[in-house]
Symmetry: D2
Amino acid sequence: MIKAGIIGATGYTGAELVRILARHPEVELVALTSRTYAGEDIASVYPALTGYAALPCADLTPEEVLARCQVVFIALPHGHAVPVAARAAAKGVKVIDLGADLRFRDAKTYEEWYRVPHHDPELAARAVYGLPEIHREAIRGAAVVANPGCYPTSAILGLAPLLKGGYIDPATIIIDAKSGVSGAGREAKVTSLFVECNENINPYAVAGHRHTPEIEQELGALAGTAVKVSFTPHLLPISRGILSTIYASLARPVTEAALRQVYQDFYTGEPFVHLLPPGRWPHTRWVYGSNNCHLNLALDGRTGRVVVASAIDNLTKGASGQAVQNLNLMYGFPETTALAAPGLCP
Amino acid sequence: MIKAGIIGATGYTGAELVRILARHPEVELVALTSRTYAGEDIASVYPALTGYAALPCADLTPEEVLARCQVVFIALPHGHAVPVAARAAAKGVKVIDLGADLRFRDAKTYEEWYRVPHHDPELAARAVYGLPEIHREAIRGAAVVANPGCYPTSAILGLAPLLKGGYIDPATIIIDAKSGVSGAGREAKVTSLFVECNENINPYAVAGHRHTPEIEQELGALAGTAVKVSFTPHLLPISRGILSTIYASLARPVTEAALRQVYQDFYTGEPFVHLLPPGRWPHTRWVYGSNNCHLNLALDGRTGRVVVASAIDNLTKGASGQAVQNLNLMYGFPETTALAAPGLCP
Amino acid sequence: MIKAGIIGATGYTGAELVRILARHPEVELVALTSRTYAGEDIASVYPALTGYAALPCADLTPEEVLARCQVVFIALPHGHAVPVAARAAAKGVKVIDLGADLRFRDAKTYEEWYRVPHHDPELAARAVYGLPEIHREAIRGAAVVANPGCYPTSAILGLAPLLKGGYIDPATIIIDAKSGVSGAGREAKVTSLFVECNENINPYAVAGHRHTPEIEQELGALAGTAVKVSFTPHLLPISRGILSTIYASLARPVTEAALRQVYQDFYTGEPFVHLLPPGRWPHTRWVYGSNNCHLNLALDGRTGRVVVASAIDNLTKGASGQAVQNLNLMYGFPETTALAAPGLCP
Amino acid sequence: MIKAGIIGATGYTGAELVRILARHPEVELVALTSRTYAGEDIASVYPALTGYAALPCADLTPEEVLARCQVVFIALPHGHAVPVAARAAAKGVKVIDLGADLRFRDAKTYEEWYRVPHHDPELAARAVYGLPEIHREAIRGAAVVANPGCYPTSAILGLAPLLKGGYIDPATIIIDAKSGVSGAGREAKVTSLFVECNENINPYAVAGHRHTPEIEQELGALAGTAVKVSFTPHLLPISRGILSTIYASLARPVTEAALRQVYQDFYTGEPFVHLLPPGRWPHTRWVYGSNNCHLNLALDGRTGRVVVASAIDNLTKGASGQAVQNLNLMYGFPETTALAAPGLCP
């Protein structure tokens, strides 16, 4: 049994980690930190866990957490993970950071988009970007994994086969993404209120969302050239789910059938990524509460563009499920441990 | 491995059975019947199952299903289960019927409320009402289990300790129940359309819903006297979940603390029924997609009434999860097999 | 043109007042107060108003507001209205208070349930409870109107004909009410977040909600005797709407048809209250965004109880629409001015 | 008073026409046709109209309707309007067709995308495309108006200023549109069920939706050159609302401020189209139930693309509200008659 801790356990990604790990036969949760709910049992904060998890939240210092754990999940707002991760790495405690602090190989990009200084560019440089379908081998040997953002996970999985194979013009990529409200976290703010989100859709952070450079870093590596994308996120009245609808112009003539084969080959053997049959477009509820990613594509002969749709659950494959997938890789457990479940649908 | 079949596999309760059984280590699904989707794989009808279940739906006769299975789940509209169940019983195939046809010990009550003749009152008389918390021992030995209705499950679990202990006046019971739309099934009808249900709540079948006599049968057995209840169902804009808010006048003086102890004692050791701490009222999303039932109560000194709230997922504890719980009991598997999971929340 | 102001204009009831008054031909809004949004135009806070209302919010003192207005709407949290209302009354500015501070003729009841001292019991004693269907004549002549709570509006309209006629036993009244989230206001709190409310229903404030004594005051006056009710509110995943499902035992034999006639007679000529035809149960979306109240009832012969359902929009008939209805009465405008619209449905 | 009829009155667009016209001082509804609900009052089919509209639905022949009316709204599935419209035109009854049959100046385009023959290309050629902001003068004099589709309304209003001014490369236009479920109509089909749509988003008809050529016809006329667009519709769990997020590459250097001025100028004096202030992106609930269109744009310097968001209510500005706007123009009534209302928000 691996002893694990969660720093920032009472946000939505923290709670999702607890939910998933409650069924993990090889992991024992030994530390849950929270300031707001210190002293309360996690099942008191999230009563859905009643009977499935019983561990008090505590306002522990990073040192106290690290002293108890072999691996630590960090689920803090950006800007807070670096010191914890650095100390963990120094002590030999493995780190899976669900925030943005260690996602950029070049800390300058982080500083530019997040507008805060980065205090450990060297750590950032050697952290591994935890998208198993792209970086599986590196994750296996990693001490520090930077778990991908939710939007980047959906976008990169949707585009990787096309860019790797050189099928599209990287200058033409447009990602129109739609997310459920849990992506905004559990912070009490007016824009996340039920009445503000219900019966509504709106774009936000147009031409400026911080997941843009993260997408571009990974797409650039796949394409072998710098990539700039148009990325527009939207807020949807659903709790969980991200759909990315992706547009790009073909770089060379190819049939839709050939492109489908490219995806099949790229994701062959992947337990969580599924190309749906022709004409069956991804629905976010088909991956609801699961670690799955559903994909489909069409080639539009009239415009010469390929259209890809990519659906994930932002809290699972887009955050905590992927974090557990990374843990499984880091410890040599079967990759689907605690994650092998279909979406909750209907 | 038990070989199991589902007759009527493509409705919501059928799909929920497939979802749950996909993780059951002791059950192999060998037959799924459907007229509408004959020839299609179940993962084509419910793409959430992609990668987790692969079995074609077929328009099989009952005989064909019974020839392949040791146990059969019947998920048909009422009026269709009796001939199948009778044949299965005759052949030694165990039956778990998710419909209403075998829920009444006295077939006359069925005929009165469902307004169709009952063709096998003897079979109805010996079927076991599959509410494990009340009839566990009988279920273990049963050949035919009548799986309870969704509303009755929530109402009976909420009231059983009070009636068993004689704490309330059975003539004063009022059950105000609220259900998600999946309870209406997957039939294409205007009243189940998104636009008709969204941003809405309405009562329906007031003073005449068919779950009324089912509730009364079980409450009467617990009380040791005939019971008549006011039962009002409501339709809610949620996919899954039932909340029953229950009112009854005290039959004798008792404290709220004493009543809480009554519930604790009644449900001690139950894996799925949880009395929440004082003041934490059940939320249906806390049991979302799970086999759990959350309860709480208050004693209103001003009016001399006890108020109980009982929350379940109508498709899981209220239907398919409970059916699997019954299967586990009938075959001696650990009762929580394939069911030990917290609600999907957030 | 009447000059009107709104104190607390940027909460949901304030915004609903602006929306309604934007179409009122006899009222000019001249003052909108807000601390949070001082300096912003109301159409900046609620962009739906773009092109329909243009008035800056300002952090005005009550004196500044009263100096500009002939009538003032107070939409503040309870405990804040009394000093404003007292000053307004002294200056001859008419007051419509949407909070609870002046709803109780006996300020002791207020103090007991709201657990704050009442600073002007005399003002409370002479304020008029602004439910036009019950107190129309008093409202016409009122200087200070206490606009009813949302739950009480639905409950009282549902029960008034029965109590006035002595058809039910007042000791048996149970009100099971369900409300949309806008009833919780625009305050940023975790319990009002989209993710916390979506796909959920839960009871709250069981046996202790502050609208209980308000309902009891008005029902008692109708019945001519003290009335105690069981009242349980629930939170629903809809933005607007309240449904009250009401149970009571008959006090004397009567037919359902006779009871229907009682309602028809009681509400004859009422522009906003509609008894629906037999069997058509109220849906909250049928009154969505309107000042209408839809009612229906059934007599359950098996239990001797009458069941009433009453649906309103909590922000309109349950708050701001009713406030404008009261203004219309106070100034002798046609009672439906700015309010004569069907619900927005579909 | 103009006498008006609605052919196909009980679908969602028909009901929305009744709702709007209930407040129109110059229009009297004299005929509502319906096969399904013949003999029922419209307020029985849509109880929200109780007290606001009382007219029986009848299975009238077109001749019977035309004999009673000066203007007729046709709200039928495509393929059914042409014979009615032809007869109406012959009799001098004005026609506003809410379907697709008369939207294409070149009936061949219709035949190609709708895959049915067009029986009156000459009538199609002289029908006026009823988008007042583009074709106001022609509408004033029209005998037959083809009311625009919902998606085209949002897309064309979003792009018109850019194309008219030559600011973007017409070959680069991508329209990612999201619609509420009412756009699918009131037909009972599984894909429109609450449980299928709730907690979900999905694309559909990718690279093949029939609104594509309608958008292209109008954009081409504005651009003065043939235009081909990528258009992807998505289904959202909201009842009403369309958001189109539009991407195009600049054709020549321009600042964002200059583009904003282009929109201001283009829509100056328009009562229903509002460019929101910088950074305030359209929310569909801000136009909920209204005839308004909210727009905003950003120029993304990194990619050289302009991003436009355009929000309407698909049933109002996207269908029935625009139809009434057209009627107002055709009869010389003030254009905002019965339509001058802010969105219902909150």
